[in-house]
Structure formats: C-alpha cells, structure tokens
C-alpha cells in the first residue's frame, strides 16, 4: 500500500492549479451582481485529435462550463447530444473560489433560459410577482 508521503511531487506549474471535481464541479455560478445562474453541472473540454494516440503536447483545454440536462446524464449515465449542451464559455469566467463568478449578466446567458421562461410565463402572470414583498 503506497503511502503518499513516499510519492514524489510533480513538476511545478507556472500558474494556478485546480482540481476540476473538487473545486469546480457542482459550484454555484454567479453573475457580476451576485445573481445565481446555475451550478457547474459538467465541464466541456476540447477533444484530442486521436484518442488512441494521445499527444503529450496537446492536452485537452477547458472550453466551457456546462449546465442543465447534462446533470442527469452525468448522474444516471447516457449521452446528451452536443446540440443540447447549455454552455457558459470558460472565457467569461472571472474568478474561481468557493463560487464561480462570470463576467456577463445572468439574463444575457443561455443558461438562464428556464428561469426567464418561468418568470415571463408564470410568475409575471400572477399579481404582485414583479413587486418587492412588504
């Protein structure tokens, strides 16, 4: 049984290191006003050109946070077609801490579609839905 104290330290990285499942997956995503958008349900990585002969010079690159129905395929198995992916591009992520912050307003993102739909078709139809509680 290997003791991890006997294992060597890996080569250093000139930048931050993040364990995807531990520190990114299942985290809350907030917009610049602190409005929740969704949770990180999965991560989209670039697919290596040849999966049978991986190129050490070209590791997969993080492309987007994924949310929505992909959570169910992640938990229960199955495959979601890429056309149904709901993406939040990695390039708009501003900060990764206990929450993930993005630089675009919630309403401007695909990921908030369900929330906007509920708002426009259900909640707004009920009197008082748009007002602050008293």
């Amino acid at each position: 049984m290997r003791n991890d104290r006997e294992l060597p330290a890996p080569p250093p990285v000139a930048g931050r290191v993040l364990d995807a499942d531990l520190e990114l997956l299942d985290r809350q995503i907030l917009d610049p006003d602190g409005v929740p958008i969704s949770a990180v349900d999965d991560l989209e990585l670039s697919t290596p050109a040849d999966l049978a002969r991986l190129d050490p010079q070209h590791p997969p690159v993080v492309q987007a946070l994924l949310t929505g129905p992909i959570l169910m395929t992640r938990i229960f198995g199955g495959r979601l077609p890429e056309s149904r992916f709901i993406r939040i591009p990695w390039s708009i992520v501003t900060r990764v801490g206990t929450v993930v912050s993005v630089g675009a307003a919630a309403d401007s993102l695909d990921a908030s579609w369900t929330e906007r739909w509920m708002r426009d078709h259900v909640i707004s139809r009920i009197p008082g839905g748009r007002h602050d509680p008293e």
């Binding site: 499942d21 999965d42 990585l45 997969p60 993080v62 992909i70």
Partner: protein
Amino acid sequence: MILSDLLGSPVLTADGERVGQVVDARLALDGPPDGFMVRTRVYGLVVSPHAHRSFAGYERTGVDAPALIARFLSWRARGSVLVLWTDLASFTDDVVRLRPGARLYSPRLEHSGP
C-alpha cells in the same frame, strides 16, 4: 469531450495492470489570456485504487477535522496518485492507458502549483 467522460474511468499501466479509477482531473491555469480567463489545460488525472469518487477531497487538502470523519475518508482514498497528461497513452472504450515508464506522483494539492 466532457469531464464526466473521464471521471470514473479505469486507469491501466502499459502492461495492463490496474492503477485505479479517475477521481479528478487536475487543471493548470498557465496558458495565454482567454477573455477574462487564461487558457486552461488538463495537467493530469487524480487516480484512486479504492474510492469511486473522492468524498470532499480529504486526502488532498490536508483538512483533518472532524478527526474521525477525516481519518475514515482519507483511509478510503488511500493510495491516490497523480498521473500527468504527458504520461497518458490513450483514452478509448472508456479506459485510460498509461505510457510505459509513466511516473506516479503525490496527489497532494500543496505539491502542485506555483
């Protein structure tokens, strides 16, 4: 490719010996700027011979409280290792195969990073 394709996949050495299952992907934020972020690559995979999933990452972060729970979960994730992307040969049929001579590193987070 999505992350959950990798998670849970068995990892074998070049000789077909089982190392464990992928419990995490270690990312390195050391690329050129990309929007608000920097280009982020997969640096390596955290592989565990016992646990199917890392529960709260106790074996990597060094959090040791509450004592009983920390001990139990670290024990469960004992033998976890880090393998570098450069040491991966293939990822086909949901199996990750290592290159001959692949090295196993400590998965402790304070050992990676700047």
